[in-house]
Assembly symmetry: C2
Homo-oligomer: 217 residues x 2
């Protein structure tokens, strides 16, 4: 088995896939793609050939001749392909739908608005300075986390969905990390705060943390 | 069977679910939620109880006591729950992963950046006028469609993934509709343009079009 993950330590989407690979107990080579240095290594021709969207992560399974982009597509694939480790989605259809909905609340409604390229675009288009950019990122994180906190009132146990880790936790932890970078007060979301800490007690989440990656600065 | 879809005619995410329901040959009641009138009906307390994120769409299956948000979670649920009509995802794991990746290229990397609430926020935060907002929406549509066009070179047949309609087409058609509203020249993306027209020849897509909804203006 020869698995590779092209990612960046601070990218939420890369962080998600690292957690999922760890939960599935899969060994992989981590290939850092620096999103800032020299205008961004994701724009190099060699990387574009792997991922024409010029974004991280990209996942490669050399044995299966698979090159996949999009963190959630990679994670669903890992769930379907490997029996090892934890299940990443619940067994029952409706539970699975609820976990996916929680995941997309974060992966579609928050993360896309607060990542590096969007903040760069706001600077370029609207002359936003660092404080404007942080305020923008805080606002979307707060709106998103506030909605998720309400949903968790009916779904949460130790984790986002009951007492098993799932895709929803895989999306939540990197989003909380992002929110904290922009000084969002996480204690305003007590369920989220509790689940975040419960997750980080697990080795799979701990090893996936940005600061534990070889490209961390 | 009693299915309800709360949506808005012009919302891309609502449009996706309408297509999926039609492809699965499911009858449903369409409940319009006006995103602009009176500050937005999605913010009414009655709607918040259905969807605390105050976004459309929300799907209700009264027989199963199901209330679901997030268009992609709804569509995966419809795929898993109903045998009727078309399959929305391919049978084989790797094909499914590729279709999901294409779908998320649009649903995570483009649509979240160009929807109504984001354009409203840009006005509020940066004083952007209509032309600034349109330029912002054009830019993200162009970057996203350009990446998808490259991927389609290895996946497309009559539709995004070979010769069967899939989740990727369900995401593509509403995105093209959005891009055209902002005057993106779709002929710059010949595969996307071809697939868009092939899809609209299908009754399921035709009936789902924004202008064919009761709340169209």
């Amino acid at each position: 088995m020869s698995l590779k993950l092209y990612g960046y330590w601070r990218s939420s989407a890369s962080y998600r896939v690292r957690i999922a690979l760890n939960l599935k107990q899969l060994d992989y080579d981590y290939v850092p793609v620096h999103l800032v240095k020299d205008g961004g290594e994701q724009h190099l021709t060699s990387y574009q050939q792997l991922n024409p969207a010029e974004l991280v992560p990209t996942f490669v399974d050399e044995d299966e001749d698979v090159i996949l982009n999009q963190s959630l597509a990679i994670i669903e694939y890992l769930h379907e392909r490997y029996d090892s480790g934890e299940e990443l989605l619940p067994e029952h259809r409706l539970d699975r739908a609820r976990v996916r909905a929680l995941s997309y609340d974060l992966a579609c409604d928050v993360q896309p608005l607060v990542n590096l390229r969007v903040l760069q675009q706001i600077s370029a288009d609207f002359n936003a300075d660092d404080e404007h950019k942080a305020a923008w990122a805080r606002n979307w994180n707060q709106r998103g986390l506030s909605a998720v906190e309400k949903r968790l009132q009916t779904t949460a146990g130790k984790y986002c969905f009951g007492f098993d880790v799932s895709l929803a936790d895989i999306c939540l932890v990197p989003q909380v990390y992002n929110a904290m970078r922009f000084k969002v007060d996480i204690s305003a979301y007590p369920l989220i705060e509790k689940i975040y800490h419960n997750c980080l007690e697990l080795d799979a989440f701990e090893r996936a943390r940005p600061e534990n990656q070889p490209d961390a600065q």
